[in-house]
């Protein structure tokens, strides 16, 4: 079912209300503030942002056992972008923290137990060369 959102899950493409200048990811078709008064357009958001809060999950749900423990964070994307949730990879434990600057990376999310379908999507990794 997730293939419906492939384009959105593979890129940071969401929507944006031009009236109140709010970004939505996952995309929303209706702006919760402006509703019919809003003007929703598709938008590619910045792939850079910083960690607002994070956790390391040691007790995973079915399908995620192999990768545990893994870090999950809410990341505020740059340029007035939305908050986005995702795993943080390639990051030492001591480095992981509030305010850490990260960028998106395209990775395997999990393998579906029943049918062996591999799900891909966006994760986050520390920015290695900011301002390159």
């Amino acid at each position: 079912m997730l293939w419906r959102r492939f384009r959105n899950k593979y890129h940071l493409i969401g929507t944006y209300c031009e009236k109140c200048k709010t970004g939505f990811y996952p995309p929303r078709e209706v702006c919760p503030e402006c509703r019919r008064g809003g003007k929703i357009v598709e938008k590619q958001f910045s792939n850079y942002g910083e960690i607002v809060t994070y956790t390391v999950v040691s007790a995973p749900p079915a399908g995620f056992e192999k990768g545990a423990p893994y870090a999950l964070a809410i990341v505020k994307m740059d340029d007035n972008g939305p908050n986005v949730v995702g795993q943080v990879v390639d990051c030492d434990d001591e480095k992981l923290g509030m305010g850490l600057r990260v960028e998106t990376t395209f990775r395997k999310i999990y393998e579906d137990g029943k049918e062996g379908i591999v799900q891909y999507g966006l994760k986050f990794m520390p920015i290695t060369h900011e301002n390159l």
Binding site: K9, V52, T53, V57, M98, G121
Partner: protein, 397 residues
């Protein structure tokens, strides 16, 4: 945006009484099925109310995941069948707030003049499946497509809030743990129902297995089988059945985004703030009037946020407020005298009804060793998912 339910708060006169309560023992009940425990709680409540099943006009049953956990939907009909009545019986679901939503629908049915006597039940059977599968199933309460997809868990969502609360306000893990310690202590005085009626310490919480940092196993409410039921009745008929009716005087319900990351604040639940404002206004009381409260401590941080969201203390100081003993029995505002979700157990659909039942016992003066002296007004705070639904109900004797 404030829940627009607020506009009705003042004009509403509930005129609904609680005349009976019934609870099963909470825990891992291997020998009983969902229908067994639902019937047990229902029969106990009917008996406590001193009515017969034939007096009941309608039922509302709170349950979250019997479809996933047991392959059984249609719990309204199932419970009516077990009790042996053919009255209207409707399942109501709002994740972990399902029980309180069912109670609201029961109240609504009586206020609407569609029923005089209503049985409201809640039940969940969660220990028949593996922990991993239960963890996955419970994420159905959050945003499956955009949170569950990434391996997010319920402890993970509350851990994100806990970390932010600690960061923004200096809340400590020790403070959070003190909520669990208090709730386990309260549970020792509720042995007939509580899943874990034993004492723990702050050290034990801090040193138990990590689940989703900073939350450890003892920060989390358990997986529980259990059922609860209460009997609602039109106010003017209550004395016919019962010498000590308790009245529902206010009810607020509000929603927020399903996904946590979509919210403006990550250190409190706006839906809880909204729902409590409506409930206070409807009941015509202020926070200072509340004598006893059951809050939704699915994780220790949730009880910290609840104390702030409901107005027991100022924003940011909930941890210290609990650590200082204000929420103990005998404190400023006793919270979770039943043992809370943490130590009494959290059979999802039953939790809201168990909270109501505990408040009713307190207001009747029937809470035994854990009685709050002179309790006249009580409140329940029941949260669905990571805060996308919140219901606050107010009771008085």
């Amino acid at each position: 945006m404030l829940s627009t339910g607020a506009k009705f708060a003042k004009g509403v006169d509930m005129r609904v009484a609680v005349i009976g309560v019934g609870l099963t023992k909470f825990g891992e009940v291997w020998t009983k099925s969902l229908r067994d425990i639902a019937l047990e709680a229902g029969v106990k409540a009917i008996s406590d109310a001193n009515i017969s099943a034939a007096d009941i006009d309608a039922m509302f049953i709170g349950n979250m995941s019997a479809g996933r956990f047991s392959g059984q939907e249609h719990l309204g009909a199932l419970v009516a069948d077990q009790v042996g009545v053919s009255i209207p019986s409707t399942r109501v679901e709002g994740a972990c707030a399902s029980g309180s939503l069912a109670l609201r629908e029961g109240v609504s049915s009586i206020m609407a003049g569609l029923s005089d006597v209503v049985l409201v039940g809640g039940a969940e059977k969660m220990t028949d499946i593996s922990t991993e599968y239960a963890t996955t199933g419970l994420m159905g309460a959050a945003d499956e497509e955009w949170e569950g997809f990434h391996g997010m868990t319920f402890p993970g969502l509350y851990a994100l809030m806990a970390r932010k609360h600690m960061h923004d306000f200096g809340t400590t893990h020790e403070q959070m743990a003190s909520a669990a310690v208090k709730n386990h202590h309260n549970a020792t005085m509720n042995k007939d129902v509580a899943q874990y009626p034993f004492e723990i310490t702050v050290d034990k919480v801090l040193n138990s297995a990590m689940i989703a940092s900073p939350l450890t196993l003892l920060d989390c409410s358990p997986i529980t089988d259990g059922a609860a039921a209460i009997i609602l009745c039109r106010e003017d008929l209550a004395k016919k059945y019962c010498d000590t009716p308790v009245y529902v005087t206010g009810s607020g319900q509000a929603s927020d985004t399903l996904a946590l990351h979509d919210r403006k604040s990550l250190t409190g639940l706006q839906a809880a703030v909204d729902a409590s404002r409506v409930a206070y206004k409807m009941a015509g009381i202020g926070v200072k009037d509340v004598d006893v409260c059951e809050v939704h401590d699915c994780f220790t941080i949730a009880e910290v946020m609840a104390c702030e969201d409901l107005g027991f203390c100022k924003k940011g100081v909930g941890g210290k407020f609990i650590e200082d003993g204000n929420t103990q029995i005998g404190g400023k505002i006793p919270v979770n005298t039943s043992g809370g979700l943490k130590a009494c157990g959290h059979p999802v659909g039953a939790t809201g009804i168990k909270q109501a039942s505990e408040i009713v016992l307190q207001l009747r003066g029937d809470a035994g060793k854990r009685q709050v002296n002179g309790a006249e007004i009580g409140m329940t705070h029941n949260v669905g998912g990571s805060g996308a639904t919140c219901v606050v109900n107010i009771f008085r004797r």
